[in-house]
Structure formats: C-alpha cells, structure tokens
C-alpha cells in the first residue's frame, strides 16, 4: 500500500460524509466505534456513559465533517481527541456535580481522579499507536513475563536492542501523564471550554496526545 493511502482514505471519508452519504457514516462507525467507546469507557468506567459519548462523538462528526483538517493529522487522531475530550468533560461534570451535592472528596481529589482517568485513556491509545516492534517487546516483557534476554531471543534482536525497545516503549507510554496543551492550561478542557459541549474543532490534534508521530 502506498504510504499516503490512509491519508487518502481519511480525505475521501471526509468528502463522503460532507456529501451526506449514510453508507459512509456506517463505515466510519465500523472503523472507529470501538476506539471511541473504549477510550470513553477507560475514562468513565461506565458502559452507558461510554455509549452516550460514542453517540455524541459520531453525531458531532456527522454534523461537522468539515471540522476535520486532514493537514493536522490522521482522522483517527482527530476522533480519538474528540472522544477523549468529551469523556473527560463528562467525568469532570459528573464528579463536580457530585461534589456540589455534598459528595465525599475534595476538589484536589477530583482533579487527581480526572488526571488519572485521562492518562489511562491516553496510554491505551499510545499503546495501540506505537510502532509494532516496541509494542511487541512490551507485550513479551509485561504480559508474557519474559525477561529482556528472552524478549531479545523471541524477537530475534540483540539484547541491547531489546533493552532499547523496552525503555523507549515505556518512555512513550509515560507521555500519557504529560499535559500536552501548548497554552499551559490543564489538558482536560474545563467546563467553560469555549469550543462548547459538542467538542473542539481546534487546529491541533496533538494537543491531547493523539497526534504525535510515535
């Protein structure tokens, strides 16, 4: 497949959505629903809430296909960003409401919880988006409990290379904790987010950790 084929698919999909093709919406859902749903579920820990985020994200895309800018990154990143932001917004909203009703906890704990959920969701995405050799090394060392020498042997690489992949893989993963917003505001959009509840159409999909070339 030529290197730019995925980009072409993204642009084509955008055109079809803009044209109002119901079949394109179905294909979009088939390709990205599990990404959106699992991200939302990772943040919110609740299937019904994740279902609702999934509906909102696809509705937003279907109503605003032009909001996607192929120059800013792959469609997948844009959709992941939308899902992440909407899920985090929702978590913050429901947790703040619970706090306001006199629920247990402090605003600091709420922030920590939001930050943790946000990082967990981003980490999932980073793992799926990282280069396959790094993912394979982590898979062996963590899930299969192989040490780095065995990992090297399994992958047919030198021990140096196995150590390098494990370290690099974890380094990438650790960026899930980073606040990626260039403006220094928290990565989790506040309820007063000017882009509104239906999600942002801001220029950079990298702002939430979904757009970097890994």
């Amino acid at each position: 497949m030529p290197k730019d084929a995925p980009r072409r698919w993204d642009r084509r999909m955008q055109q079809r959505l803009a044209h109002g093709e119901a079949a394109a919406l179905g294909e979009l859902y088939d390709r990205f629903a599990s990404l959106v749903h699992s991200l939302a579920h990772r943040v919110l820990g609740d299937v019904a809430a994740a279902d609702r985020i999934t509906r909102d994200v696809f509705t937003h895309i279907w109503e605003n296909p032009e909001a996607y800018d192929p120059k800013q990154g792959p469609l997948r990143s844009w959709i992941a960003t939308l899902a992440h932001q909407q899920a985090v917004q929702r978590l913050r909203r429901t947790e703040s409401a619970a706090l306001a009703r006199g629920g247990a906890g402090t605003p600091e704990e709420l922030e920590r919880k939001v930050r943790r959920a946000s990082a967990a969701a981003r980490a999932d995405y980073i793992v799926t988006a990282m280069p396959a050799p790094l993912r394979a090394a982590l898979e062996l060392a963590y899930f299969q409990r192989r040490d780095y020498r065995q990992t090297a042997a399994d992958l047919g690489v030198t021990e140096d290379e196995a150590r390098r992949r494990l370290r690099l893989g974890l380094q990438l993963l650790s960026t899930a904790y980073d606040t990626r917003d260039a403006h220094g505001t928290p990565d989790t959009s506040s309820p007063a987010d000017p882009t509104g509840p239906s999600g942002p159409s801001g220029p950079s999909y990298g702002a939430h950790g979904y757009g970097r070339t890994l």
Binding site: A24, G26, S38, T59, W62, R116, D147, L173
Partner: protein, 425 residues
C-alpha cells in the same frame, strides 16, 4: 493479550492503590518476579556477584528494570545506581509509573444495538443526502454484527471447524469447513450481487459465468492455494461496504434490478441467451444475503463459543416475509419434481410466526403468483420466528420444527419441507 492469572505487583488495579512512588522520591524495590524456568534460558545465579556496569548500560537497563525484566544482579546494580544518579532516578520513576498504565486489552463487546442507535441519532440530526434504501438495512446491520464478532476472535479460531448444514432432496446434508471458509463462502456468494451491480467479481475477472451460489463457493475454495485464513475478512468486509454504498447511490428504485443466481447445471443454454436461471430482485437478494449472513454468523458463533443474538425484530420480519413469499414457487417446483401431490386449486395455509418480528402469512399452495385467500385456508401452522428461519436455513428438520399444527397434515408437511428446501450451501 492474555496474561497469566497472577497478581501483578505493578498493576495499580491489583494493588488497589494509587500510582507508584507516591512522591517519596525513591522508587520501590521491585518484588521478586515469577521465575521463568519454562523457557530453558539460562537462569541467573541465586546469589549474584555485585555487578559493575557503566552509566550508559545502567541507563539502557531502566526500561527492563521498570518491567522487572532483568536479572537480579542487574536489578541490584540499577537500584544501587539510582541512589547516586538524579536523572536516572527520575527516569526510573517515570518509567515505573508508565508500567502502571499497561493493562490487558479489555475486550469489551460493543452492544450491536448501539450501532443502530448511534446511526439513527446522527441521521435524525442531519438527514442524509444519500440514504440507505430501507431494504438494504438488514444487510448493513447483519454484516456489521458479523464483522464485530470476527474482530474479536483470535487467529486460531479462524480455523475452528464449522459444519455447514442445509437440505437437499428433502434430506439434511452438510459440508465441513472452517470459520475462514465460511467467510470465503459469504464473499463468493455476495459476489452474485456485486457482479449484478457491475462491481468486481471476488472470483476474479475470468471466473466462469452463470455459476450459482454453491458452484461459486466451490470455485473460490478450490482456487485458493491454501485454506482461507483471517485474511479473508478484509475483502469480505470491503465488498459488503461497497455493496451498501452502491445500492445507496443506485437508490431505492434499484430494488427491482434482477440478480441472477446462476444457471442450474442441467440447463443447457447457448451463451448469450437470456439467462433462464433463478433470479431475485435486488431488494430481495440483499435480504437473502442478510439472512445468510446471520445464519452463518450463528454457525461461526457456535463454533467459537460466542453468544449471538437474532436480528432486530423488524429485520427478522423482512427475512421471514421473504421466505414466505418464496414458498409458493418452491411448492410448485416440488410438485413438478413429483415430491408433492397436486391438490385442488385455491387452497392456502395460514403461517403464523410468533415472537419478535413475527406475523401472519397466507401461503397459496397451488398457484404461485397469486395471493392466498382466507376462504381457501386448509391448514394453520404456528411456530417461533427464529425457529422458522432455522427451518428455512436447513438447520432444523421439518419433522423437528416445533410447530403447532391444525388442519390438512399433508399440506403442512409440504410447506415445512418446502421451507427447508429454501436452504442451500
């Protein structure tokens, strides 16, 4: 990704606590890892000599250390080093925290009904300029459901044996294949619709024309050098998407376009003659393909031990309706073949299908092309909708179909056998 069922000291969910480190500035000592004696790799000595390693090596070990994937001697050397080296200690903490973010992939099955709800909500907010014809909706839904199942199954399960069953000559027959073989079958037969619409034939441009569903399947299976694998999923799914897209652009009116189902092998036709073989209008053909997709998805689900639900009631209703509409011609065929006696004209059978998606149909017994008349009703059969579909798929025999029956037993038997003979490979 499956991990052993051991408690994992680095998994925050196992620990039930917060992130590692807790801001104390000093990394925890890793818990002893489970010995990997099953690997045959040399195991580290139990009482390691203190290792002397230089800084670049120690740094390169940080990832392996955080994952508890180095030898005890190396781990000790790294930990020793972390006390002296600020940058390494910082990175070690960071990487250790990152390990806490790893977790087994949750295979959280998406509710298949969610797709319908989400798409309906979208289309309600912004009506499509190119909608799906409503007769294509069951195919759209069933292919999406099957694809979701396929997405979830592992490499090995693609080779799980599946026995395809149908009725031939009023007798149950079966054919052994695999999960991947079933998808190849669906791909090959969906190709009938694809070629009728002018799309590419999955059998290739030089495929023999006029092949029916079974012959197409055999040809596809034969042409493959190796047994089909999970690689068949993509061409199958691409073709389903392409079909849905094409019929959407063709519009609802294209539903009358004939889809030939091949020329029966005993028919001798000069090339170029009008195809005398069986055909269905596109709208029924898409419904028939949706039905097959569901039935084979059930075969697959059973083979890999997954739960699988019947179609949405309104889709099931359309499938039952199609079978009911095909029955009169099938009955006539059975008569011509001498499998059933002819009766006095004007008789009809009331087919009552219970459960979600059910309804009532009056089947004319002696005159295909007419509609059944309540005055001529000679028998009444009642059975469950899913049961009726399994009968029509040849998955339960006419004798076993749990039917409530009143009236002419011969007519009832005839209709149930006709329903079973709708099935094929």
């Amino acid at each position: 990704m499956n991990r052993p069922g051991l408690p994992d000291p680095y998994d925050p969910y196992d620990r039930g606590g917060e992130g590692v480190g807790g801001g104390t500035g000093r990394p925890r000592i890793p818990a002893p890892r489970v010995p990997a004696e099953d690997t045959g790799a040399p195991l580290p000595a139990t009482a390691p000599e203190p290792l002397v390693l230089d800084h670049p090596v120690l740094k390169s070990l940080l990832g392996a250390w955080a994952l508890a994937a180095c030898s005890p001697a190396e781990a000790a050397a790294v930990e020793e080093h972390l006390g002296d080296c600020g940058p390494c200690a910082e990175e070690a903490l960071r990487l250790r925290d990152a390990v806490g973010l790893l977790h087994p992939e949750e295979s959280l099955d998406l509710d298949p009904g969610l797709r319908t709800r989400v798409l309906a909500s979208c289309l309600g907010r912004r009506p499509p300029r190119v909608p799906l014809p409503d007769w294509a909706a069951p195919y759209d839904a069933e292919t999406a459901r099957l694809d979701a199942l396929l997405k979830d199954i592992g490499d090995v399960e693609w080779h799980a044996p599946v026995r395809l069953r149908w009725f031939d000559d009023d007798r149950p027959v079966s054919r052994k294949t695999t999960v991947a073989g079933v998808i190849a079958h669906l791909l090959a037969v969906d190709g009938l619709v694809a070629t009728a619409l002018g799309l590419e034939d999955p059998l290739g441009a030089d495929a023999a024309p006029g092949l029916g569903p079974a012959a197409r399947t055999e040809a596809y299976w034969r042409a493959a050098q190796a047994p089909p694998t999970r690689a068949v999923r993509e061409p199958w799914r691409d073709q389903t998407h392409e079909l849905i897209r094409t019929v959407s652009f063709a519009g609802g009116g294209s539903g009358r376009l004939p889809v030939p189902y091949g020329v029966p092998p005993d028919t001798t036709t000069a090339p170029g003659d009008a195809a005398p073989g069986p055909a269905l209008p596109l709208r029924d053909s898409m419904l028939e393909r949706a039905f097959e997709c569901w039935i084979h998805a059930e075969d697959i689900a059973q083979a890999v031990d997954y739960p699988y639900e019947p179609p949405a009631p309104r889709h099931l209703h359309r499938m039952i309706d199609l079978a009911a509409r095909l029955l009169p011609a099938t009955l006539a065929e059975r008569r011509r073949a001498g499998r059933a006696p002819a009766g006095p004209p004007g008789r009809s059978l009331r087919l009552e299908v219970e459960g979600a998606g059910g309804g009532e149909w009056l089947i004319p017994l002696d005159a295909p092309g007419t509609s059944g008349s309540p005055d001529g009703e000679v028998a009444h059969v009642a059975l469950d909708g899913v049961e009726f579909c399994r009968l029509a798929a040849g998955h339960v025999s006419p004798e076993e179909a749990a039917a409530g029956q009143v009236g002419d037993r011969e007519a009832i038997r005839d209709v149930l056998f006709a329903a079973a003979s709708l099935s094929r490979l």
